[in-house]
Structure formats: structure tokens, C-alpha cells
Amino acid sequence: MTVSEDVWRAVQGNEPPSPREERGLVSLFGTARVLAPLRQGKGSLVDLTPLGQARLAGMLPCRVGRRRQGTLLVIADYDRMRPEVLAAQAVDHLHRLAGPDFGFGVSDLLGEFPTLTRGEHPIDQQSRLATEPTFEAAGRLFLAADPRGRFVLGASCPLPPVRSWVGTRWQWVTAVTVVVWGLLLAAVRRGLGVGWSLPRQILGLFGLAAGGGVCLLLGLAGQALAGRQEAAIRGRQAQAAAILMHLDDGFRAFRVQLERRFQRFSDRLQGQSPAVMARLLRQGFPARWREWFHVMLFDREGRWLCHLPPPTQSTLQVCFGKAFANLFSTIARVTLKVWDWRKSRVGAPMPAWLDDQPATIRYGVRNMLRGEGITDLVVPQGTMARYARIILDQEGHPVFLLVVLEKLVDQRLYFRNRQRTWRFSGREGGFPFRLHSLEASSRRARPLMPEVQRLVDRLSQTGGNQFEPVRHRGRDWMMVGRRGGPGGKLPPAGVSPGRDPGGHPTVVAGVFPVGGLPAPVGRRVGPVVHPRPPGPAPGGAVRSAGAGGWSLPWSSPADHRGRIPGPGRWDRCPSR
């Protein structure tokens, strides 16, 4: 057993360290007191400076390749890093990234290292940064990054000069003024020459002046309205982005809600005979919902007690073919065996004999035992959500319940829930906003509008919010899209999971009109009111009723058809 292994166990556990583990901690970190901060800061790097160690340490979860998960133990002595090298590397790195307009420099206040500059960043100005952290010189703005440290890091960029618009064009302005004034004067004189009466001259000049004034006012009003329109669109974009962010964040809570309903349902199976369990399962998952769930129940020998597959082939059956039944029977048997083994060994890792099993079984068992509740299950076809639980029957024998959520039903349900909410609140809010979920898989997505496809393409490459204007049925709309985030938010789905399993390409997208905003000369824009934040609709958007006193959250009496919105219905853009 190596020192690192001792430390590993000490950090992973919760008990006080053994003397051997303590020695390991001291040999690696210099002190055993690091254990508490390391245990508290799992998943992040901890600065050990308060313990007198110029070190960063931490245990970080990470993935290797597509599927393997692991943990990284890092012990880094940052006092071994040479600050002058870091500063020079930072300047070089940013100079490459920032482009030619930006200049960088680093100088040593002790004078041991020569001043280094990159780009248009004069050395004398870099020296000036030591005493003056911000200044403007030679048409450039200079800023010092850390004026108190030993190394002064500076950066500069050119600033546009503040010049008068009229001042730079005074020749043109004077010429135009003189010419126009002369023309007017000539017109007046000619008007007099042709015998215009004084009232006509006055009328003409007043008309000219008034016309000029009105044109000027219209132009200014147009500019002001265009500015307001831009501001209103920016505001709506920000609000739409916030809505999508809330929507993304809310998925975790929805999954927990869904999980609790599954748990309540499976509580009812506890202590029942297998036949009753099977009957309850059939009642709980009526035919209209079979398409969305694949329900399996096994006894400890791996025998199938109940199997409710989707009417069409399930993803698992497609994935494993003829081996499906045997494979899941074995996984259930081994899962229950491991569960039995661990029952008497609380907190123990997996048994060693599990490693003798084939990889698929081993992986499946680990996944099934990862925790009761809804968890992701990665299969070659993509990532699916599954609910697994071990239940005791009337004789106290464990049975294994596995419900696989097909066709991203959890996400679809979540979106339907939210769509209801937003339909409701959209009428109240300052602007209508429609939500769509969008599976960006080219294989499954229906032919999309090119703008939507473009948005999806951009979203699959970037992480932030993306906007795309679209014109539909004579109106201008703005689409906003966001990819589902990692870490328990909207899980991976959609864009070719085989090629991008680690991504989280589920797209949530919204669309709101911009065409209704004022044209440059048109209606005034009203105040933009933030719509009601996402949440259960008043009166309960999610109503429960169903067989046996238990129901899935979506089986409301109002929706007996069991219709769940599919991937984005962009062919029907909402009308106002």
C-alpha cells in the first residue's frame, strides 16, 4: 500500500486518521492538520497557507475519456513557481490572445530582470506604470495589473481621440452653410424680382423653416425611437436569458419531485407479494404511459417478476438486442447479491469478486447501486434516466425495481410543465415568450427553419446564450437558446450523443417578438415587464389523479391523451 493510498483513504473517509494515514499525510503535505480542510473542500483546491504551507491541495472529481470517472489528488507547491517566469508567460499568452491593438509589459521593481514589452507598449510608459497605475499617453490607455507587487504588469490599448465632429468637418459645414444660405438669399431676391408679395415671401420662408424643423424633429424622433427599440430588445434578451437560466436550474428540482413520486409509489410495493407488486405496477404505469417508461421487476435469482416494455422497442432492447433479457436479469441478480454483501458492511466499497464480472455487468451493477433515485444511465445509444430501488417483499426477500425513462420523458415533462406556466404568464407579462425544448439531433429533429438550425449549431459549439432573429409570417421574432448545463441540471441528450457524450446539448430555447416594438417612427414602446418567474402555475399546473391513489405527476384529468410535446415545434411559431 502506498503513501498516496493511505492519504486517499484518509481523505475519503470520515473517521479520524490512523497513525499510518497520519504519517502519510505528514509525508505528503507536511502536516496532518490538512485533513479537515481537505475533507471539507472535496471537489475544489484548498489553499493551505493558513496552515503554514504554501500549497494548494485538493481531491477533484474528473473524467477520463468519455466514460471513466476518477478522482485527482493534487498537491501543488506554488512557492516553487517562479513569479518572473509566470509574469512573462502571462504577458506572452495574453499578447497572443488579445490581438495587435493591445500592448503588454512587465517590469521588475528590483531591477533584477529587464523590462519586457509586447506589442505597442513603450518601455518608458511601462516604467511610468510603477508610480501611476492608470494614465493616458500618446493616444493609449495604460493600466497596471498589480502596482503593489514586485513585478509591475501593464497593459495598454489605443483609445479613440475625443475630437469635435463639427471641428473635424468645419470646412464642409461652412461650405454647406454658405451655399444653402446663399441659395436661400438668391431665392428671396428672385422672389422679390418676380414680384412676390411680402405675404407670399413670408409664407414661403415660414414654410421652408417649418419644413426643415419638422424634418429635423422627425429624424431625431426616429433616432430616439430606434435607440429605445434597441434598448427594449436588449432588455428582453436579458430577461429571456434569465428565464432560460431559471428554467435550466429548475430541472434539478423537478427531477427531485419526480423522484419522490417514484419513491412514494415504490413505498406502496414494500411488503407486498410479487403478484401484487406486478399488479400495482400495471396500474401505476397504465397503457397510455408505457411508451415513456420501461418497467422491470426482478427477484433475487434474477427472474423477471414484471416486465412492462414500451409498445415499440425500447432503447435498451435496441441497444442490447437479444442479450437484453439475460443481461438485465444478471445485472439485477448481481445487484441484489452485492446489496446483500454490503448490508453487513456499512460504508464498504464494492466487493472484490465484482471485478471478475464482465465489464457491462460490473458497470450496470455499480450504476444500479449508485443510489436510489433517478440517475443517468449511459448506454451506447445515449444517456437515459433511470429509477432503481431495492424493495422487500412480504417474506423479506429483496426484489429489484428498475424503471427506465424512455425518450427523455423527464425533460419533456419538465418542458410541458414550464410551457403551461409560461403560456399562462405570457399573457400577463409585458411581452409574450414561448418556450420550446429542442433536441438538436439531426437524426431526430424534423426539418427546422434555417434560423433555428443555425441557432442550434451555434449552441452546440458554445456554452452561453445565443440569439437569432427570425422573420416568420411577416413578423420579426428573436429566438434565444441555451444549452442545458451540467451537474444535475438538464442532462445530456440530443445532439448525437455517440459523438458528444460528455456535452449537455439539450437545448432550451425561447422566442419572443421584436416586430411589435416601435418602428423608428411609430408606436411608443411600453414598459417591458418581467414575466412571472418559472414555477408552478397558480392553481397547480401539475395535478395528480390516477389509478390506485397514486399517479404520475403528469397524468392530470385534463390531459388523458398522454400527449407529451416532442422536440421543438418550430414549424408553428407562436402568434401574438
Binding site: 509566470l86 495574453l94 463639427v166 455499480r366
Partner: protein
């Protein structure tokens, strides 16, 4: 040329006509100044962010954190660059990696 003198109301109206012209020039000037001010503010903000990033990159703990983050990302996406980053981190950091399969049996990265 001895033309007839222009009566005073015409002069006055000509002057009146010049007023919107002057106002429009003033407004154009104002808008130009506002645009330039905004651009300068944007550039200043950009430079502040660049400088903030520069400071983080040159700060040993922050730089180390960033490099370790890059190493973590590289482990997932590009193992070759991960080994390159690990070599770069070698003088200052000790890295131990364990997969979930062999938890408790870590190996030196």
C-alpha cells in the same frame, strides 16, 4: 448689380431658418461625443478585464489553479495534451489519479 434691397422680414426669416441647422449640428456633435465616450468606456472596461486576467495568470496560486483545471479538462478531452500539461506541472505539483473502478488503489499520474 443694384438689386432691390431685401426687406427686413426676409433677413429675419433667413436667420430663423438657420436655427434648426445650428441645432442639428449641435445634436450631431452631442451624439458623436456620446458615441466616442461610450467607445472609450468599453475599451477601458475591456482593458480592465484583460489586466485582471493578466494578474490572475501571473499570480502563482491562481495560475496553478487554472493549470490544474486545464489538466482536468484535458484528461477528458485530449489525453495527449494532458500528459504534456502534467509534464509542465511536474516541478511544482504532485498528481495522483484514481478511477472509480480502482478507488483506493491510486496510481501516480
Amino acid at each position: 448689380m443694384a438689386g432691390r434691397a431685401v426687406p427686413w422680414p426676409s433677413w429675419w426669416l433667413l436667420v430663423l431658418f438657420l436655427i434648426p441647422w445650428g441645432i442639428s449640428l449641435a445634436i450631431l456633435e452631442e451624439r458623436h461625443e456620446a458615441t466616442v465616450r461610450q467607445r472609450r468606456m468599453d475599451l477601458t472596461e475591456d482593458l480592465r478585464q484583460v489586466v485582471g486576467h493578466l494578474r490572475r495568470l501571473a499570480d502563482p496560486p491562481a495560475a496553478l489553479t487554472e493549470q490544474i483545471e486545464r489538466y482536468r479538462r484535458a484528461l477528458r478531452w485530449d489525453v495527449r495534451s494532458a500528459s504534456r500539461l502534467a509534464r509542465r506541472l511536474q516541478p511544482v505539483a504532485r498528481l495522483f489519479f484514481s478511477t472509480s473502478r480502482d478507488a483506493g488503489n491510486p496510481c501516480r499520474a
